[in-house]
């Protein structure tokens, strides 16, 4: 069953450009991708909670490539499929007037296949190849509008991404040279036997730089605001919601926690990078006027939360406090799920705003709730949950991270988390004040354009924002988030599952 996750998007990705050669403008492309993402969402929900491996071509793990389905990867699968389904639903109406739709949806499903490949694989080089599949499809999709700005943003994203990939490949080459195998579980067994760890540390540093470029950590974030603001709206929702998480933080944490058994300095670096990008991303976002650029910088800062949670988990594991480590990892994973929902909600909402007012400049537009109450309401829910107000899901995951930081004794970190939440609240209240509440400002380009196709996905995501708050309750948390945290925490479980030692 597992290879279908990659085989179906690949098949459709190869098929759609073929169909477009013969019939240009058909609704067929959007409908096929919608059915495909719906099927994959159902498949990922069925597979949720299972722990199994799948051997590619029937070869045992160190020889061949294998898939690993454990708590963390099944959760990530559900997040990818959910956001992809909602985004395709939104794109059916939003992109209907564009040309080259066969290529757009073909690249979209290839990007999906790449993300599924990275989420499931248990092999280092295979993760690199499918990371390239997802990244290259997203480079072309960012530049899909082909205006001067979009091309420049796509070129910058391509160069930074290519440099990141080369660093990851160099890290894999160093790792293979000093360990001799490519399977993540096999590496974690062999890494402990290596006498001189200096080259393992070097490849860890290369991985942190390479995946940092993919996940837009603070020193390497300069491509993200341009790429996310000039991409077509469904694509910037997918990029911010899922792509930078799966390709960046998930792949890095899978390698560091399960592959390299947490080299001694790695968790500290991760924590401080997380704290840095959280703080600096928030401060820059304060001064943004363009709605999408503001959302892009807030993505960098929210990604900082996730990295912080995972990094703190790593610190507590190495300090020998398993209970607090599980809590911190739960905080990181919980925030990953939450951020995927409300960030894609806000990006889709900003697409609707752009469609109504014709511009994204916050100073020139206002009073959207009067024009279309539904998108106004869902946008409000999105802004409230991202700034972490109690009833919504953003609050609970930040709460878990703060508790883990205080309980574990990292008081400066807890201080930075609280301060950044205050900054986030500030700039989203600014958005709230003039975009939603005020009277109608700016001429309305297309009043009747907000058809159900636009605000139904917004409604679905808004309900998720409210519903996911329940994950904080102990019984839900134990079923959904705890296995994901334990998948990272107990490396030995992972190797036992894969190699059957």
């Amino acid at each position: 069953m597992l290879p279908l996750f990659v085989a179906i998007p690949l098949g459709i990705g190869f098929l759609l450009p073929l169909i477009e050669e013969f019939r240009e403008r058909t609704k067929l492309f959007a409908v096929t991708v919608l059915l495909e993402t719906g099927l994959l969402l159902a498949l990922s929900l069925v597979k949720f909670g299972e722990k199994s491996i799948y051997r590619m071509g029937g070869w045992p793990p160190p020889i061949g490539i294998n898939y690993v389905l454990d708590g963390l990867s099944s959760l990530v699968l559900v997040v990818i499929s959910g956001i992809a389904f909602v985004t395709t639903l939104f794109a059916m109406t939003y992109m209907s007037e564009y040309e080259n739709l066969g290529k757009f949806y073909g690249l979209f499903s290839l990007m999906l296949a790449g993300m599924y490949g990275v989420a499931l694989t248990g092999d280092v080089f295979n993760m690199y190849v499918y990371l390239e599949v997802a990244a290259i499809s997203s480079y072309a999709l960012v530049g899909f509008n082909r205006g001067p700005e979009e091309l420049e943003a796509s070129f910058k994203y391509l160069i930074m991404g290519a440099v990141g990939s080369v660093f990851i490949l160099l890290g894999i080459a160093m790792l293979y040279g000093s360990v001799g195998s490519l399977n993540i579980a096999d590496i974690s067994v062999r890494v402990s036997e290596v006498a001189d760890q200096s080259f393992i540390l070097l490849s860890t540093a290369l991985f942190i730089v390479g995946f940092g470029l993919k996940a837009a950590f603070i020193p390497f974030h300069s491509w993200l605001p341009d790429a996310h603001s000039s991409a077509p709206t469904p694509i910037s929702a997918m990029l911010s919601g899922v792509l930078i998480k799966v390709l960046g933080v998930y792949a890095l944490s899978r390698l560091l926690f399960n592959g390299l058994n947490l080299p001694n300095l790695a968790p500290q670096i991760l924590t401080w990078i997380g704290a840095g990008s959280m703080f600096i991303g928030g401060v820059i976002a304060l001064g943004q006027e363009d709605l999408k650029r503001l959302l892009a910088y807030s993505s960098i800062s929210q990604m900082g939360y996730i990295t912080l949670g995972l990094g703190m988990g790593g610190i507590f594991i190495s300090q020998g406090k398993p209970a607090i480590a599980t809590l911190a990892l739960i905080g990181g994973v919980f925030h990953l799920v939450n951020h995927a929902t409300y960030k894609s909600l806000l990006f889709l909402f900003s697409g609707g705003v752009e469609r109504i007012f014709g511009t994204r400049d916050l100073s020139k537009i206002g009073g959207i709730t009067r024009i279309s109450p539904v998108s106004g309401a869902t946008g409000t829910i999105g802004t409230l949950s991202i700034s972490g107000l109690p009833p919504f899901n953003g609050f609970w995951s930040k709460l878990v991270i703060v508790i883990a930081a205080i309980w574990g004794g990292l008081y400066p970190i807890a201080g930075i988390v609280l301060f950044t939440s205050a900054i986030t609240l500030a700039y989203y209240l600014k958005v709230q004040r003039d975009l939603f509440m005020g009277d109608v400002v700016g001429e309305i380009v297309e009043k009747g354009k907000i058809s159900p196709g636009i605000y139904v996905p917004l409604l679905i995501l808004a309900l998720c924002c409210i519903g996911l708050g329940l994950l904080y309750l102990p019984e839900f948390r134990g079923v959904v988030l705890k296995p994901a945290a334990l998948a990272l925490q107990e490396g030995s479980e992972y190797t036992k599952l894969v190699l059957g030692l």
């Binding site: 080089f125 190849v129 390239e132 290259i136 480079y139 072309a140 530049g143 082909r146 001067p148 700005e149 091309l151 420049e152 796509s154 070129f155 391509l158 160069i159 290519a162 440099v163 990939s165 080369v166 490949l169 160099l170 894999i172 080459a173 293979y176 040279g177 490519l182």
Partner: protein, 116 residues
């Protein structure tokens, strides 16, 4: 030991070109040189002093083959990474050509200025 250092120097030249050069084509060349350097490093890892190509001729026995052949795994990785490099080059050149059409220059600082 020196040979690994040479591959690392090639990598550093590529990185230097990507960071310091302001011309799109030089940046693309920097990425290509970095890809070449990592491929060379991968092959250097799999080198064996008395080794030959990992292809079994008719006359050779398997045990003799195992002791003398080079490491085939990095070579398989390098073929994959060369073709990934070709894909990335095709995309970069397509973007550079489009950027030249819009901005009339290959200089990245002009492009950033014009974008305003």
């Amino acid at each position: 030991m020196l040979t690994y250092l040479l591959a690392f120097i090639l990598f550093a030249i590529g990185l230097y070109s990507v960071i310091n050069k302001r011309n799109l084509i030089k940046i693309i060349m920097g990425i290509i040189i970095m890809e070449h350097a990592v491929n060379a490093f991968l092959i250097l890892i799999g080198y064996r002093v008395s080794g030959e190509a990992p292809i079994l001729e008719k006359g050779m026995t398997v045990t003799e083959f195992v002791n003398s052949a080079m490491d085939p795994l990095p070579q398989a990785l390098v073929i994959t990474s060369i073709v990934i490099g070709l894909g990335v080059v095709a995309l970069m050149v397509a973007l550079a050509v489009r950027l030249y059409q819009h901005y009339g220059t290959f200089d990245i600082t002009e492009i950033r200025k014009l974008r305003g």
